[in-house]
Symmetry: C2
Subunit: 456 residues, 2 copies
């Protein structure tokens, strides 16, 4: 098993070449013009998995973008690990803020810069390469199945529908996922909580067409002004969310939980400096880590109305739009929350406008126990590579499908992520440290060994 | 003079051909890609004015888009009319809402559909054709000068700087403008008041880059949420503007003024029906016409932030922007108001964000007296063509340069407009009734006759 370091060292250029080939296909799942790119990307992964040692790998159609399924069955009597990942990526705009083209990976300062570098193509590839090593050195002690989807960044709508019919195919003892972050490059952590998500789009419509703001301004309600007012009223002066019933299912943190969280390394001055902000804005009564890890939020992800070009245009816009998402914490149900949002948003609309609310994807929050064989094995693996025990953390992000797995397949997941919060996932200049990439491959390899020791 | 009807009837196809040629050049002044189109348009007008009887016509450079100057001096001892108009047009987006391409004029239901059809190419062309008739039939009794600018829709920044140096060239006794509206197709009116304008652009900046809304949401202030809150706080619950000092220079209407305004034909049910709105939103204590004609306003003309494409993206945007304009009424100074806005907007910004406010163009409000020779002549001209006396009205719109003329040249203007509020100026499907176009040519012709009777 110690030969993994040598294996990485010997093959690292090939690993990067293969990963870069994957990154170069612009698989933006939410933009319909990339439909063909999704299939190309899926095919690329099929080829990679077959080359890495899978017995079979294939593209399976869904109602949306296809799923890649692959497997290597060494012995039906042995336990099975199901590796989950996603080959789709986030949109890239605003394009002008990228220092290099998002789909032309470039290495600078020891990091791979590209859309998908860390989320999730790079992390998925760590899994593929650890698997390749284990197969090629005859050390694989589990059956391994792969389910790589193409709609994670959209909330996995097709996968959620596809899963229930594939229970036999996907039968496994554990789901292994690399799609999360560590605390710092030298402080490993294992994500044991994920926030859920409810994502809404709202339209506020006033007059039937754009109007001249001189002729009508002052008498006709301006949808952009009204939308601003409506959004403003979704938080109170303590930064609590005002939607009635929103917090009903949220459990208060225990004193012990708060004390544990306060122990995680965190420096507010550095945090603010890194983001170039003068002050944070938390819900009153909670710390930064409590707010991002354990409290629900409501953020405008996009807003648009009227004239947004160069110069000026004196228009009273007919419509105003916003994308508004809420991160959810354990026990909040995304569909219930979407319903509460819709009801409240409609209720605060003045009679001068018409309001339309639609629901994009949602996902349930997730919390994992730390007293399992998988957690213990992962913990030992990180310790072996990083020299210190990983910290269990709750991430503010969401991987909605993780809860769905538990519900649909009855299987627990272990989240072994190697990203960093500074990787700019979802932002311009997304990047992934080469050090994290190689450490990831090594740690995952050790995980297979320790997990076998726990189980076999 | 009665032969004007016959002249129009005989030449109407040619008039429309010539106008359509003018409309086809996409002279959007605020978009730099149309810089060459501006010069082409100016040249087109030079050619038209020379063909119509001007002694000379030329393109004069300014610091921005050029001005067309032309003249016909019949006798230096006689009074001079300076015709003002503009050859630039508003942007055309959203393009998908146009039923026909904005720069390919099309006649449907007795209306010309195109950007610039009424604002102001069509109306400017009425002036050219009335002039052509008077020259060709030897009935011109005034010297006529022309000043046609290319930056009206941007607030005439270059013209305001250019004017003071051209006092001799532009020496005139009256400025004649066709760039306003009538009450209805068969209810003529003369605009005696225009609102002023202060146009601001604001930027609210949070973190130094777009962030993952899961990882940072709840702890980092979201500029889009903050901007919404700041915009919301610019109006109070009575729809008064909250900027301190904003109303300081606004005079209350007298009881007589309110009574006169209440006499203008207005049907609230029709007004709402035409715009497809359930309710109007006026400043508390004022009627619709009072609000649009005599009260200052504050409207968001554009707002944008974050992800505005298809589907969803869980981004916490780095910045949020808005274009916000205020229509001003007599005695409000646009620069003072811009200063008050900036000061207030900066003062309400929380420490979690950085705010930048920039000023686009502004303009002073304008009020004209009705006891002048020009007003009486215009009134008789409308009555001759429409069969009823025109109503003096105050428009909610702004033609900032009108006040500048008065200050720079010491000359009064007469606003003889033939548009309708339903023409969708500044909106998709801008149009101009052919009936208004031909009536306009006829009325302007009569104006020259009656104005000569008043003066000579």
């Amino acid at each position: 098993m110690n030969s993994i370091k040598t294996y990485i060292e010997t093959n690292k250029d090939r690993f990067l070449d293969e990963l870069f080939g994957l990154i170069r296909i612009p698989s933006i799942s939410s933009e319909s013009e990339h439909k063909d790119d999704m299939v190309k990307t899926a095919q690329y992964i099929v080829d990679q998995l077959l080359k890495s040692g899978a017995d079979k790998a294939e593209i399976m159609p869904t109602t949306g973008h296809p799923v890649v399924y692959a497997e290597k069955i060494i012995d039906p009597a042995k336990p099975t690990i199901l590796v989950y990942g996603h080959y789709d990526v986030m949109p890239v705009d605003p394009l002008n803020l990228w220092d290099s083209p998002p789909f032309e990976p470039e290495i600078r300062d020891g990091k791979i810069f590209a859309r998908g570098a860390v989320d999730d193509k790079g992390q998925l590839f760590m899994q593929v390469k650890a698997f390749e090593y284990l197969v090629s050195t005859n050390q694989l002690q589990f059956n391994v199945k792969w389910m790589i989807e193409g709609e994670e960044e959209m909330g996995s709508p097709a996968l959620a529908k596809w899963l229930p019919g594939q229970k036999d195919l996907l039968k496994a003892d554990l789901i292994l996922v690399s799609d999360t972050s560590m605390i710092a490059i030298n402080i490993p952590s294992i994500t044991v909580g994920l926030r859920g998500l409810a994502y809404m789009e709202v339209e506020v419509a006033g007059p039937d067409k754009d109007l001249h703001s001189g002729i009508y301004g002052g008498a006709v309600a301006n949808p952009a002004n009204i939308l601003a007012k409506m959004i403003a009223s979704l938080h109170d002066e303590n930064n609590h969310i005002t939607i009635p019933g929103f917090y009903d299912d949220v459990l208060d943190l225990t004193i012990e939980e708060r004390r544990d969280m306060a122990r995680a390394p965190f420096n507010l001055v550095d945090y603010k400096k890194k983001l170039d902000i003068k002050a944070t804005l938390c819900e009153k009564g909670y710390t930064v880590n409590e707010c991002t890890g354990t409290r629900p939020t409501l953020d405008v992800n996009g807003i648009w109305s009227g004239y947004t070009g160069e110069g000026s245009k004196t228009v009273l816009p007919a419509k105003a739009f916003a994308k508004i998402s809420m991160r959810l914490v354990p026990h909040q149900d995304p569909h219930t929350i979407a319903g509460l949002f819709t009801q409240y948003f409609e209720s605060i609309a003045p009679e001068t406008v018409k309001v339309k609310v639609t629901e994009h994807h949602g996902g349930f929050p997730y919390v994992a126990p730390t007293d399992t064989a998988a957690y213990r094995a992962a913990s030992k693996a990180y310790e072996t590579v990083f020299g210190i025990k990983p910290v269990p953390t709750r991430s503010g992000g969401s991987i909605p499908i993780i809860s769905t797995f538990e519900q649909a397949l009855g299987v627990k997941s272990i989240l072994m992520g190697f990203g960093l919060d500074t990787d700019a996932a979802h932002s311009p200049n997304e990047n992934f440290h080469l050090e994290c990439f190689f450490n990831g491959i090594e740690t995952i390899t050790w995980f297979y060994k320790f997990y076998a020791e726990e189980l076999l």
